[in-house]
């Protein structure tokens, strides 16, 4: 897993902050040994304490909690794998896995779309590129809960903009956010709408790394724009595309805010639309079954880990690294 983040992190950096003097890391002097005095420890202490107490210790405890059951007034008893047995027989869990996969699958569609957009946007000499870029990025920085509330009104069955527009042309639209499957797709469309801007930022950074000589050489050899896109742009973008697909999976599996705000927590269709994280939240703070919730949490972690691992295994077949 650490490899994921290492690559993810460097991809992130390449995308967001072109560090001055790029080649610095290679000619970096060896780390200095035995610094003077205690001050490095002093610098590190708040970090170690904060992370330990508020992040890592809770994470370890989560795993422990997943083997326990919590009473109404607190206090836990060790129940072994009972939570996990229940997990495997729970139809809600299976449905939540399917929902989360469908949602993530729709988000993944955003990557090829963003590849085309990014290739068009990053053509040299394109006018208004900055305006386009800011427009596209806007939904990504906007607050997901706020955006979801807006879409909730757009989607509304009776007075929503979509259905009242459809009604004008004589079509009775579906009850978008209270019909099984439609509700999930409705959420995913908003997710897609928000994520394309982020995808494009990452891909734009990848495009900047493609040597222009390749396009010149291929043009001399008679390649048209379409051919250049297929044979140069896409293959050389595969590292960025790979990074995005890993990130999309991780983000997709943590669907929560938008589901909560767009459908509303008490929406009758929620049990058929909920994601794994929503199920987790509901178990932990709604039903107050913190042990079972922890087991769901561990399950999500395992699924994310598994998919990330598979993606890393498969990358050798399609990801093209320049070096």
């Amino acid at each position: 897993m650490s490899e994921t983040i290492e690559r993810a992190g460097s991809g992130m950096q390449a995308a967001q902050a072109p560090a001055p003097g790029g080649g610095g890391a290679t000619r970096l002097a060896r780390k200095r040994h035995s610094p003077d005095g205690w001050w490095p420890a002093l610098f590190i202490l708040p970090l170690a304490a904060g992370i330990g107490l508020f992040y890592l210790w809770p994470l370890l405890q989560s795993v422990y909690y997943s083997f326990t059951e919590w009473g109404v007034f607190g206090g836990s008893t060790w129940t072994g794998v009972e939570n996990y047995v229940r997990l495997m027989q729970d139809p809600d869990v299976l449905r939540a896995i399917v929902n989360t996969l469908v949602y993530t699958g729709i988000l993944l569609v955003g990557i090829p779309i963003a590849v085309v957009f990014a290739a068009l946007l990053n053509r040299p000499g394109l006018r208004f590129a900055m305006i386009y870029r800011t427009c596209f990025f806007l939904p990504y920085i906007a607050m997901p809960t706020a955006i979801s509330m807006v879409w909730r009104i757009i989607y509304n069955n009776d007075y929503g903009v979509i259905n009242s527009t459809l009604r004008v042309v004589g079509i009775e639209g579906p009850a978008w956010i209270s019909t099984e499957w439609f509700s999930l797709v409705a959420v995913a469309i908003v997710g897609l709408w928000m994520s394309i801007g982020f995808n494009m930022i990452i891909l734009s950074a990848g495009l900047k790394g493609i040597p222009p000589e390749l396009y010149e050489a291929s043009a001399i050899d008679g390649a048209g724009k379409g051919r250049q896109f297929r044979s140069i742009t896409v293959p050389l973008l595969t590292p960025s595309i790979f990074f995005l697909s890993v990130m999309t999976f991780i983000a997709g599996f943590q669907l929560f805010d938008m589901l909560y705000a767009l459908l509303g927590p008490t929406n009758p269709v929620m049990p058929k639309t909920q994601s794994l994280v929503f199920l987790f939240y509901d178990a932990a703070f709604g039903a107050n079954e913190k042990g079972y919730a922890s087991a769901i949490g561990v399950l999500i972690l395992l699924i994310i880990g598994l998919f990330t691992l598979v993606q890393f295994r498969l990358q050798r077949r399609w990801v093209h690294y320049a070096d």
């Binding site: 897993m1 650490s2 983040i5 290492e6 992190g9 460097s10 902050a17 072109p18 001055p20 003097g21 890391a25 970096l28 002097a29 780390k31 200095r32 610094p35 001050w39 970090l47 992370i51 107490l53 508020f54 992040y55 210790w57 809770p58 994470l59 405890q61 989560s62 068009l120 053509r123 040299p124 000499g125 006018r127 427009c135 806007l138 939904p139 920085i141 906007a142 607050m143 997901p144 809960t145 706020a146 509330m149 903009v161 709408w193 801007g197 222009p212 010149e216 043009a219 390649a223 048209g224 724009k225 805010d257 909560y260 509303g264 008490t266 994280v277 939240y281 932990a284 913190k290 949490g297």
Partner: protein
């Protein structure tokens, strides 16, 4: 094929287009076709993105009945009533100040301690330094929600549950791994010779860090700060689980509260005004950051 002849302008254009996008273009027919296709596609997507946003902005000046009766008309009367209602009646005002306190509190702590830790980890080797680095990676790998249940108990037993201070600490811990990880690679890429020169000139480690290294790392700091700001400003799962006192709600919870009142009684006017209020700070920070980042990158490389 329009591109079979060598176009001498192509290479120049590609290189200079990168640094100077407004460069004048002498184009072939193929370029023109692709150019107009680009603009068409990009404009369509811009409209798809911007139209709902503009609609929200326009609607925020209309009355709720107007919004539903004539959704696409301009407001009959431009009124700030919705903003006043959202700010006071719907409580967005107090959620806003709570969010400012929590996000900026966490941001200051994260940036200060995060940069210190990243610097030490990047420059020195000492017993446990690798262990701490890997702990950081582990922190990045695990999704936050997994820590929420035990965190609930940690905060409860320290009396920090449902308090703004508790949220500041939680947000800080949550933003820490990414911050340190990002700045770690940034400090590694900075030349050590300047720090050593400062040390030879007699600057202590504290001075070297705060007066020499930190200013040099400005582009990296700016990037992390903006990403953290957006991430924390929009954070929802942490507060909804760990901050259930309505007095201490943050904006995301305020927005979700509109979801809870639901149905027909929803004050759409106030809701839209609230949406605008929540988006504006992030937008401002983003626009400022874009310029500043560009400036500090070139500044950093010139030194």
């Amino acid at each position: 094929m329009t591109n079979t002849t060598v176009d001498p302008a192509t290479s120049d254009r590609r290189d200079s287009g990168r640094t100077n996008p407004s460069n004048k273009q002498t184009s072939t027919a193929g370029d023109k076709v692709v150019g107009s296709v680009s603009h068409t596609v990009l404009t369509i997507w811009s409209i798809i993105v911007i139209l709902p946003m503009l609609w929200v902005l326009l609607s925020s000046f209309k009355t709720t009945t107007e919004i539903f009766a004539s959704p696409f008309a301009l407001p009959e009367e431009w009124s700030f009533n919705n903003y006043v209602n959202a700010w006071t009646t719907s409580g967005i005002g107090s959620f806003f100040s709570n969010t400012i306190i929590v996000v900026f509190g966490a941001l200051i702590l994260t940036m200060l301690f995060g940069s210190m830790s990243a610097y030490v980890l990047a420059r020195f080797q000492f017993p446990g330094s690798r262990a701490i680095y890997y702990l950081m990676l582990a922190g990045l790998t695990f999704p936050i929600f997994l820590a929420i249940v035990p965190l609930f108990f940690v905060l409860q037993s320290t009396g920090l549950l449902n308090t703004l201070l508790g949220m500041i600490i939680t947000y800080t811990a949550f933003a820490f791994p990414f911050t340190v990880f990002f700045l770690f690679s940034f400090f590694k890429s900075l030349s050590t010779s300047i720090a050593e020169a400062a040390a030879i000139d007699g600057a202590g480690e504290w001075r070297t860090f705060f007066q020499v290294m930190l200013p040099m790392a400005r582009p990296g700091l700016a990037t992390v700060a903006i990403l953290n700001f957006v991430g924390l400003w929009n954070q929802f799962l942490l507060p909804i689980a760990l901050n259930t006192n309505p007095d201490n709600y943050v904006l995301t919870q305020g927005m979700a509260q509109f979801a809870a009142q639901a149905g027909y009684s929803i004050d759409a006017g106030a809701l839209f005004a609230a949406v605008i209020i929540t988006v504006i700070p992030v937008l401002i920070v983003y626009l400022i950051f874009q310029r500043q980042l560009q400036g500090s990158v070139s500044q950093g490389t010139n030194k």
